[in-house]
């Protein structure tokens, strides 16, 4: 079975339909809303598999179906669908993970009053996310990009009665919108320079040779090639959406949303959209690679941002004590990895890691959701502990997810995809700094994940909630098990020995592997680093479990200053509040002040001037001239009346003056020989 590109729109349309059904379902129609959402997603999954079959049959082709959206001037604004292995793999991942998370949610939220609304928003999100993947137009991609932002906003603030959730939702929307404005400008620039926003259009698309050649040939401010400038502006959107430094601050706060939301949107899919975007426009991002005398290449910036983010996120994760925030910073760090891979030239490694990460991070988030649900919404790891016994399935699957994320060798998918990235960084000839940042993050990742597992599942329960925890129902554990299976198996799609996934993504039909231990130095090094991370983590947190919820963290005891800085997330939120926040307030005050004290004052002044004239006339009329100059008196009284009439707003007097003026002017002009 295969799905032709003309029908590709069905994949996002089905969840959209489910969202429509969900929005019209009353609160009592729980089964209908969740059933429609799950069925739509499952059918979309099957369709995505069909699309994958189509794409793999001719992996090098970019199958497109374009159409006019609306007329504009001599042409039209056009949109379209695109089917290639990148789209197809992403669609399969999103629909598969999405279906499992939807099923999990029926258990997680079964007590919530707004259950139907939740599934409506989830379906809306899925529709927008899938639309983003199948778009063959940067404009359509942008439209869906904003809509996933909306869905994310609605779902972060799902428990809107909590002020913290409402604030986090707004922060997420605004922070990502800052990046999106860059994306918008990049898109406008691209549109203006090439006259199109279609990616592939039979040689006329923006990712095809003609357009790219034109963009590389022109230079702009600072000696940058136009393609570099546009690429960097588009990358701004990716920075915002994928929680990259310096716009990463919203992602941890987004954990205010229900945990399935964190799993789907803020771990597996939406936050990876930035990585997908850069991979999608990779021909544009890398178009300037051939230029020697430019200040910077677009991909170099991507690599730098990715490396900084990978390290920053991992460092901060070490000192967090909320189970979801640890995972959130881990997501920030892993997305940094993917960006790093894109920057150093291996977009297929980035997508490989994106796919494996989606499964194991969704697994970890759902696992944390299972813990939180069982422990009556206790999510502070200091107050958990000892859950290994009562929650066997959750523990086992969470451990698999943890080992995949930490990069435990050979068996787990994260190992292979991370290896591919480190390998690419090693081969990058510009600088080895990203490689070092990546290696440091390997240790840190293994360390904080060991800490997380040790604190949550080992030792003894440190709170009332944790001691009463018991395993959840099958509707929640079965998705965990399925995801855990994928977290193991998926890695074997792209091992160095048989890199099938990479080959298909790049459009090759044959696979050229090489022995795993070829160039094994880096491989060995990273295995050692993982061992160091896990070992030190276990030594600090596993061997001597925390005694009670208030005990000091071992690092806090030894390095209190460092721990405080990490715990405070390097103070980015405070820094932004003190700079951007204040600037914003000042700007608002200035705008309001201008109106009150400048423009309105000017208007009042003119009004007062008019009033003054009226008063002077009346005074002159009544006191000075009274009785004396009758003839003048009459005239002045008339003037005074018209002035005061202007003041009290009598339109008649005013209009009369205007009419007299009108006649006078016509006369002047006519007599002056105008006609």
């Amino acid at each position: 079975m295969s799905l032709p590109v003309q029908l590709l729109w069905l994949i996002p349309a089905l969840p959209l339909l489910a969202a429509g059904i969900g929005s019209l379902t009353p609160r009592s129609g729980r089964g209908l809303a969740s059933g429609a959402a799950i069925v739509a997603m499952a059918i979309s999954f099957l369709l995505s598999c069909g699309a994958l079959a189509t794409a793999l049959a001719q992996p090098a082709a970019h199958l497109v179906h374009n159409f006019a959206w609306f007329d504009l001037g001599g042409s039209a604004v056009r949109l379209g669908w695109l089917l290639d292995p990148l789209t197809a793999f992403m669609c399969v991942m999103v629909t598969f993970v999405g279906t499992l998370i939807f099923i999990f949610s029926t258990g997680y939220l079964h007590e919530d009053a707004n259950f139907t609304r939740f599934f409506c928003f989830l379906s809306l999100f899925a529709a927008a996310m899938l639309g983003l993947l199948v778009a063959n137009s940067l404009l359509l991609l942008f439209i869906c990009w904003e809509l996933v932002g909306l869905a994310s906003y609605l779902l972060i603030g799902f428990w809107f009665h909590k002020p913290s959730a409402a604030a986090a939702a707004k922060k997420a929307f605004i922070t990502t919108r800052i990046g999106d404005l860059g994306l918008l400008l990049g898109m406008l620039w691209l549109y203006d320079s090439t006259g199109s926003l279609l990616f592939y259009d039979g040689g006329q698309g923006v990712l095809e040779a003609t357009a790219l050649g034109g963009l590389v040939a022109q230079t702009t401010i600072g000696g940058l090639a136009v393609s570099t400038a546009i690429g960097l502006l588009i990358f701004c959107g990716a920075i915002g959406k994928s929680g990259q430094f310096p716009l990463h601050v919203w992602l941890p706060d987004a954990m205010e949303g229900p945990t399935p939301v964190s799993a789907l949107i803020h771990a597996a899919t939406m936050v990876a959209a930035g990585v997908f975007l850069v991979a999608r426009v990779y021909p544009l991002m890398s178009a300037d690679q051939g230029l020697a005398h430019v200040p910077v290449h677009a991909l170099t910036v991507v690599a730098a941002i990715g490396a900084i983010t990978a390290l920053l996120g991992a460092l901060i994760a070490v000192a967090q004590s909320d189970i979801k925030r640890v995972l959130a910073f881990s997501t920030v760090s892993q997305l940094g990895y993917m960006m790093l891979a894109l920057g150093v030239g291996s977009w297929v490694a980035a997508i490989f890691h994106l796919l494996t990460h989606a499964f194991f991070k969704a697994l970890l988030f759902l696992g944390s959701g299972s813990v939180i649900h069982a422990a009556h919404h206790e999510q502070d790891i200091r107050r958990l502990g000892g859950l290994r016994g009562p929650m066997r399935a959750t523990f086992a699957t969470f451990a698999i997810g943890m080992m995949a994320l930490a990069g435990v060798p050979f068996l787990f998918s994260g190992f292979w995809s991370k290896e591919a990235i480190l390998h690419a960084a090693h081969n990058w000839d510009v600088s080895h700094l990203p490689l070092y940042a990546g290696l440091a993050a390997v240790v840190l990742t293994a360390f904080y994940m060991t800490r997380l597992v040790a604190e949550t599942f080992f030792g003894s329960p440190r709170s009332e909630e944790a001691s009463h925890a018991h395993e959840n129902s099958a509707v929640m554990t079965v998705p965990l098990i399925l995801l855990a299976v994928c977290a193991v198996l998926l890695g074997f799609l792209g091992t160095p020995a048989y890199p099938w996934l990479q080959a298909r993504l790049e459009g090759h039909t044959e696979v050229h592997g090489h022995p795993i231990f070829e160039g094994a130095g880096l491989l060995m090094l990273s295995i050692v680093l993982v061992a160091v991370g896990i070992g030190s983590g276990w030594a600090l947190y596993g061997r001597r479990p925390r005694a009670n919820a208030n005990a000091l963290d071992p690092i806090e005891g030894r390095l209190p200053g460092l721990f405080a800085v990490l715990r405070a997330r390097f103070g980015f939120d405070e820094l932004y509040a003190a700079t951007v926040g204040r600037l914003n307030t000042a700007m608002a005050a200035l705008s309001d002040g201008l109106d009150r004290y400048v423009w309105d004052a000017a208007v009042r002044f003119l009004a007062a001037l008019g009033e003054f004239g009226g008063v002077v006339n009346r005074e002159a009329d009544e006191d000075v001239l009274n009785g004396g100059f009758d003839a003048t008196n009459d005239r002045l009284r008339g003037t005074a009346r018209s002035y005061s009439a202007a003041q009290t707003g009598g339109a008649h007097g005013y209009l009369r003056t205007v009419a007299v003026g009108f006649v006078l002017l016509v006369l002047i002009v006519m007599l002056g020989g105008g006609v």
């Binding site: 007329d71 904003e146 809107f160 409402a166 939702a169 919108r177 006259g195 700007m587 002017l665 006519m670």
Partner: protein, 510 residues
């Protein structure tokens, strides 16, 4: 041959006259009659739409009658794509605004009659093709608007109404003088004729013959009248008090329809008749429009009165229209100016006019609902948690907010995208600066949404009944159109595109 356009303009006035004469009308009869006559515009507009041929770019359904032949003044009406869009907008908004005013029980007969008068005057502005009666309609619209604000408005309505009327008349006075000079110089007040004179340079020659500074002075006069009406920043200080103090229905009409009269004037009068002068002034005016976009949005952030906030957001949205027009005029004749960018700027302007009408009217309607349920409160911090008590209301208001914010998938995005597309092609730096406005808009609209609807349910919101069916119904057409135009903008684009292509293809500059 039925004079369709005259019917469109004068049917609401017939309704107003009937109401004025029918002393003992019951409230139900007043409402019914008012709604019927206000809906006539939509009905007749749809008839016009069905017979309208977008491919013909000259005004259609033309009506010409001699009027004051001594002065060469004719009664001329005509409808092209631009007018049609605005007639349809008026037809949709006025009935909704009237229904929104049904809560108003004081002297409903006078209120409805004034409203119908206002509607007819606005339609006259959109359809007149001769300055003489165009100006009559233009000024006549102020009279009912003045009384609607003053008699049914909030506590400081009197001051707001006076300021609104005096300021606007002050601007119009200059425009009248300018047209007096034009008439003296050319002997005609026909827009199309004047446009031709403007395009081929005759006008400059004739005015220049009187004195070197005359062409500029006349341009400035016309500019001032229109700038106050839109309003162009910083001629806007009348707007926040007027919109805030007016009763809900009048606020809706003022922002949705009357503000469009100004933008319409820019497109119909200033741009075709004074292409050279506008081109010279545009680099400067561009800054003012940017000021409106940026300062308008940031000032909105500072407002605690929700109606003032929506009023400032209107200022911001309308200045996008002017930004596009000024960018186009400034770039006319410059190397690198493409007709694609020009077409985008013009289409965006017209779509934005329609879209802003929908979203701003819906937002004022929603604030009106808040006021009605809380005994006249409309402070940003007066509510909180309304979504818990009234989820349907929260949902519909949310759609309107996101439409105003320019969320893709809803109507607002298409117009703003096209404006930005056009402005970027014509003046890239201006597009970059205007992005600040987009960001600030998102900030204050989400603040609105968060403070009013989210958080724990406050005292005021606790007893909030959700929208009744009769309250949902007037909002539905607006919300429905937001979705339809967001997904299928071709519906409007096809009406205006031939006209826009023509304008973009032959940018008027001698």
């Amino acid at each position: 041959m039925i004079p369709l356009l005259s019917l469109i303009v004068f049917t609401p006035w017939i309704g107003a006259a009937l109401l004025a004469l029918w002393r003992g009308a019951s409230p139900g009869a007043i409402r019914g009659l008012g709604l019927l006559f206000s809906l006539s515009t939509l009905g007749l507009g749809l008839i016009a739409l069905s017979r309208f041929d977008p491919a013909i770019t000259v005004p259609q359904f033309g009506e010409t009658h001699d009027w004051i032949s001594m002065l060469n003044v004719h009664y001329r009406l005509g409808l092209d794509g631009l007018s049609l869009v605005l007639v349809l907008l008026t037809g949709i908004i006025t009935p909704v605004a009237l229904i929104a005013s049904w809560r108003e029980h004081r002297d409903a007969r006078l209120f409805t009659a004034l409203f119908l008068l206002l509607q007819g005057a606005a339609l006259g502005v959109f359809l007149a093709l001769d300055f003489f009666h165009w100006f009559v309609f233009w000024e006549l619209s102020l009279v009912p608007a003045f009384f609607l604000i003053k008699l049914w408005g909030g506590p400081s309505a009197t001051r707001a109404a006076y300021q609104f009327v005096i300021y606007t008349i002050g601007g119009s006075a200059f425009m009248l003088l300018a047209f007096a000079a034009l008439y003296a110089a050319t002997g005609t007040l026909d827009f199309l004729q004047l446009g031709q004179y403007g395009a081929d340079g005759t006008l400059n020659v004739r005015l220049g013959a009187i004195g070197g500074w005359w062409p500029r002075a006349v341009f400035l006069g016309a500019l001032l009248g229109l700038a106050v009406k839109v309003p162009l920043w910083p001629f806007h200080t009348w707007l926040p008090p007027a919109y805030a103090e007016a009763p809900t229905g009048a606020s809706m009409f003022l922002t949705a329809v009357m503000s469009k009269m100004g933008v319409y004037g820019f497109l119909r009068i200033l741009w075709p008749i004074f292409p050279t002068q506008l081109h010279q002034a545009a680099p400067c005016l561009l800054w003012l429009a940017l000021g409106g976009v940026v300062f308008g949005a940031f000032a909105a952030m500072r407002q605690t009165d929700l109606k003032r906030m929506v009023a400032y957001s209107s200022l911001n949205h309308l200045n996008y229209c002017l930004l596009a027009l000024f960018a186009l005029s400034a770039a006319t004749g410059q190397p690198g100016t493409t007709s694609a960018a020009a077409a985008a700027a013009l289409s965006g302007t017209i779509l934005q006019m329609f879209n802003h009408g929908l979203s701003a009217a819906a937002l004022f309607y929603c604030v009106g609902v808040l006021e009605a349920r809380s005994g006249g409160r409309r402070g940003l911090n007066d509510f909180g948690g309304v979504r818990t008590a009234a989820p349907i209301f929260a949902g519909l208001c949310g759609v309107a907010l996101f439409s105003s914010l320019g969320l893709p998938g809803l109507n607002g995005f298409v117009g703003e995208f096209l404006i930005f597309r056009g402005v970027f092609g014509l003046a890239p730096w201006a597009a970059a600066v205007a992005c600040l406005g987009l960001l600030a808009t998102a900030l204050f609209l989400l603040t609105f949404w968060q403070r009013v609807f989210h958080g724990p349910t406050g005292k005021v919101a606790a007893n909030f009944p959700d929208l009744s069916l009769s309250e949902i119904l007037p909002l539905l057409p607006l919300i429905g159109l937001m979705f339809i135009l967001g997904v299928w903008p071709q519906f409007l684009a096809k009406l205006i595109n031939p006209l826009v292509s023509l304008w973009a293809g032959q940018l008027p500059l001698p």
